[in-house]
Symmetry: C3
């Protein structure tokens, strides 16, 4: 165990937790490195939804030690010519197919630097490698399960710590950014979309706190969100700020604006889901407190 | 790793296993203490059902080493003034909001000592602390996710073992007991309720083995359970004691009376669920063996 | 920690991941052996489906280190006289009830050796023991949860490594083979059945690669599969070999033939599921390329 802090591997896949696939990945990894700590982020990404996997990975990895290895495998192209990548960053290693899922590792500023093109140059401190060293693979490599045969063993070898294993050649332009950034638009407003619906029916959007600040409002309560053709939802500071069953928005724990219903499901009430567009804008300022604090309890 | 036996943390939440929330908690804990063993009890508590979380925690913690740290986070009051607690007991440490979820740590006898009041004095050997030491938190502390920012890091610090970290001030009357105890009533009988429906459709009640004994019956088979307006279900000694599809009751693995259907779902057959009342009483004694053992196989 | 490589325990059960049962098993194991690495294979075996549990275990265990301990508990006979077994093999230890679930540990060749009888002689290098040593159990042993009270503690003790603990007496004829082998039939053809439906709707069969080879076809593409009264599905080399929505078959990652629909659910399209019969046979050879590669994209 050369390096404890690095001996953590996280897994984000669309393999589900009921099938034996994730266990097979873990068996391969523990065969290489029995001291690994393996953490499941989620295996319930909707099948083949690369963008969801990238978003979920992005919500979890910042809370891990900086040298953890994050594996994200949603891989509709398995068995085709797409590359298998390791992305080395200042905040951890990322392993997965070259289909954009690893854009989870890039800050929004880096992704923002991409203008129009489908592939990007990596910023300083980031290096990508194509996994081509067969010694890092589980043989025989199947045509259908590179999660087990390519990505999991590469992660386990990487998690052994120094020296960095010979993965394969550097790749210059690896990651197509899949995570759309919310965009300012006239009004002023910010236009974004729903990226994930959680267990509570909260709609997590790609609008981050910085975008709200950029709207020029220091007072978050004065902003509202248009979604699903419903009355605008106020941006508030915490879940308890609206009455039971009412929909509002809050900057959630991952730093993104999320729509919620206090003690209810915003997804159900709004009829919205992953991909639904949202628009954040300053709300109307009423001449006075049309709705006193006590008014809420009368409903 | 000062103390192996303490380096176990269990987690019971309503966060689900599909979303990145639990992984974020684990990342925060492993950043503090990379040697932790983290065990998921359940993340499928019904959203915001504090009582379910307390019951489930109570079913699991007795099987862990006495110095494990048990985190139970179902926290509808997150972002409000409710306290965050550490409860030190002779059988482990418990961490969670002060909404009664930690009553899982108290024996039924202790909870029984409470007469009418909503808050209780802790028995000897138990101490509660309000978590107020910011050095034990993950900064910045969000308004919506104290599971990650307050409870998880406190648990990881506590699991490091001695010395017991400076958590915050002692709290005298912390835990509102949320787990209702089954009550004797004339007849004689014991009245209780269903606390949990498991995957098999078994209905787990709050009637424990001691309450059955108190009914004055040494012969468990002579007791029956009234539930859901159906014919009384006999109390038997094991699942196989009734024919396929029949409903009966057994003292289950957690020490509570549970209703089951052999090779079926008692919940479906009885139309009962969490919160359903049950009543245990001596059954009618028939003059002779009206139903011979072989009779069952004729159905 | 006498032996790292053995300190891995895998779990396959029908207990679900929402209930506290699996956590109780883990608590018992960690109380015995705090250094264990415990890996969940699946807890979503359909309740009491022993055959499913055997198949799922078989799909996972070959990827673990050779001295891991594999626990498979689907136990409709709990509380009856059925034996609790440890099966020692050259590739790992297996722990579970004597209801056939441990046939997951036997190669198809071994199972094939059984002619008609319900019980088998173990091949050289395999030994079975009945767990009877109470010192290896969690007391008191309940009537309903041997997963926690018998199988989990035995596994934890076994995973401590040498010396092999005194489990109980040798058993000569322990394992009824539950996993049916696909059979050749005139035509020629191979007749098998669907053993598992995974999250993607793939139908995993018990037809393995060797059976395909035995059909006398070196060119896998010339084989087809009859299932569910639908047009025969071609056997191809990878998921991408057919157009979106089309059904085909591939030798999947566990070495078994599986039916899939590219970007869809074969289970839904075929209306087939666990237990459905399949028949693999040489396809018709057309006189020329009736279907050019490009034709597919026109549909």
């Amino acid at each position: 165990m050369a390096d404890d802090a690095r001996s953590i591997v996280t897994l984000t896949t669309d393999f589900g937790a009921s099938d034996p696939y994730v266990a097979a990945m873990k068996g391969v990894m523990l065969s290489i490195n029995p001291h690994l700590t393996i953490v499941d982020v989620s295996h319930d990404v909707r099948p083949q939804q690369v963008r969801q996997a990238a978003f979920i990975t992005q919500c979890a990895w910042p809370f891990f030690p900086p040298r953890a290895v994050h594996v994200a495998v949603v891989d509709p192209g398995v068995g085709t010519e797409r590359l298998a990548l390791v992305l080395e960053t200042p905040r951890g290693l990322f392993v997965g197919p070259d289909n954009g899922v690893l854009s989870a590792a890039l800050s929004e500023d880096v992704r923002e630097g991409v203008a129009g093109g489908e592939r990007i140059a990596l910023p300083p401190g980031y290096r990508a490698y194509a996994i081509s060293n067969r010694a890092l693979m589980h043989e025989p490599v199947s045509a259908t399960f590179h999660g087990r045969d390519v990505f999991a063993p590469a992660a386990a070898h990487l998690a052994r710590g120094h020296p960095f294993p010979q993965v394969g050649p550097l790749v210059d332009d690896p990651v197509r950014p899949l995570l759309p950034r919310a965009r300012p638009e006239p009004g002023p407003a910010v236009r974004g979309r729903v990226m994930w619906v959680d267990r509570f029916g909260n709609l997590i959007t790609n609008v981050d706190a910085a975008a709200l600040t950029a709207l020029g409002e220091q007072d978050g309560a004065a902003l509202v969100v248009d979604v699903g053709g419903r009355p605008p939802a106020p941006v508030v500071s915490h879940y308890g700020a609206v009455a039971a069953g009412e929909v509002a928005a809050v900057v959630g724990s991952s730093g993104h604006l999320e729509l919620f219903a206090n003690q209810g499901s915003a997804a159900e009430i709004l009829g919205a889901g992953t991909g639904s567009p949202v628009r954040v804008r300053p709300g109307m300022r009423s001449p006075g407190p049309a709705q006193a604090p006590g008014a809420r309890t009368r409903r």
